[in-house]
């Protein structure tokens, strides 16, 4: 889903820079306001994890490949704003050092794999979890669905961004200047391969890591209280 340079015309990639700059700024403020010292190693691990997990290319019939993003589990653990920052840092490194995703398309790729993935995952997880206890199986299912849906919605966005290029950017004779395929091709191509393959991988990864953390230390999940905080609250209630 790393859109390279040359596939998006300036109307699209500039629009996404304009959208993403204030969002990154806000995410930075959120991180500064919320981040606790004990979360710092997890934030660092999140960026490294998303970088590495995206290197696991999976082949699908028809010759295409794809990968998970890791944003499902990352946003559930460190919250969607921190997840956006961690994945954005990864995507910038991938573009600058490894040529994966274009320089002009950094903001667009951060919108899809950073913003959309993180927020769809986090709120899907919260919605399905409801009031279930943090250690319940419901939460594992919620995490899996969150992972699947987050990457699938992101692929829909990428398919849409690619598919509007022939409409937005063409020569006077109608020859496409950038991505030549139209929406009717790009959207089904992107969404189907993700929904049926890569998003399933994302769901499995999200569920496995979620279940492991759930059994080890639930207090690291974003928004969950640690035992110390819980005891303090109990004492306050009794007092």
């Amino acid at each position: 889903m790393h859109i390279p340079d040359g596939y998006l015309g300036p109307h699209t990639y500039i629009a996404f820079w304009i959208i993403m700059i204030p969002i990154w700024y806000h995410a930075g403020n959120k991180l500064t306001a919320e981040l606790k010292s004990r979360q710092v190693p997890l934030l660092a691990l999140a960026a490294a994890f998303s970088f590495v997990i995206m290197m696991f290319n999976v082949p699908i019939p028809g010759g295409s490949t794809g990968h998970a993003v890791g944003g499902g589990i990352i946003s559930i653990v460190i919250g969607p704003w921190a997840s956006l920052i961690a994945i954005s840092v990864t995507l910038v490194l991938q573009a600058l050092i490894f040529g994966d995703g274009g320089i002009t398309a950094i903001a667009t790729n951060c919108f899809n794999m950073g913003l959309v993935v993180s927020f769809v995952a986090y709120y899907t997880y919260k919605l399905i979890s409801g009031n279930s206890v943090i250690t319940s199986y419901t939460r594992i299912i919620a995490a899996a669905i969150a992972g699947w849906l987050s990457l699938t919605v992101a692929s829909l966005c990428a398919g849409f961004e690619l598919g509007i290029q022939p409409i937005l950017e063409h020569t006077a004779e109608g020859v496409p200047l950038y991505m030549p395929y139209s929406l009717s091709v790009t959207v089904p191509a992107m969404v189907l391969e993700h929904a049926l393959a890569f998003s399933i991988l994302e769901a499995v990864i999200t569920a496995i890591i979620f279940a492991y953390i759930q059994r080890t230390d639930t207090s690291v999940f974003y928004g969950e209280k640690s035992e110390v905080e819980m005891n303090k609250m109990k004492r306050e209630v009794i007092a």
């Binding site: 010292s37 997890l42 960026a47 970088f51 290197m55 994966d100 200047l177 991505m179 953390i213």
Partner: protein
């Protein structure tokens, strides 16, 4: 470092070691074709694409050492380059966020 963080870090290190599995998938992701692949598909290279796609030359392109062999040409060298890329990407990305995190975090 607590036990959970340590175990997650160990898991990540194992993922890095087995990362070359990701090289086995030979195809190109949808919409990420190089200009020759695009030409094979549609018969021409879109003029805007031709200009923009040459904008940036990444030092470790395709997660490989500079001018390194493809996975088909040399599995060991390409795999080593891939693991090295994972280490660099993980350390730089993780390191950056660790420093930023330490700077802004509250207790």
């Amino acid at each position: 470092m607590d036990k959970l963080t340590r175990n997650l870090a160990i898991g990540l290190a194992l993922l890095i070691i087995i990362a070359p599995i990701g090289l086995i998938a030979a195809g190109t992701a949808y919409g990420e074709w190089e200009s020759d692949e695009l030409k094979d598909k549609i018969g021409y290279v879109p003029p805007g694409f031709e200009e923009l796609s040459e904008l940036w030359h990444a030092p470790l392109k395709d997660y490989n050492i500079p001018n390194g062999p493809s996975f088909e040409d040399s599995k060991p060298v390409a795999s080593a380059g891939y693991i090295l890329s994972a280490v660099i990407g993980g350390l730089v990305g993780g390191g950056l966020l660790y420093l930023i995190g330490k700077k802004v975090a509250k207790d």
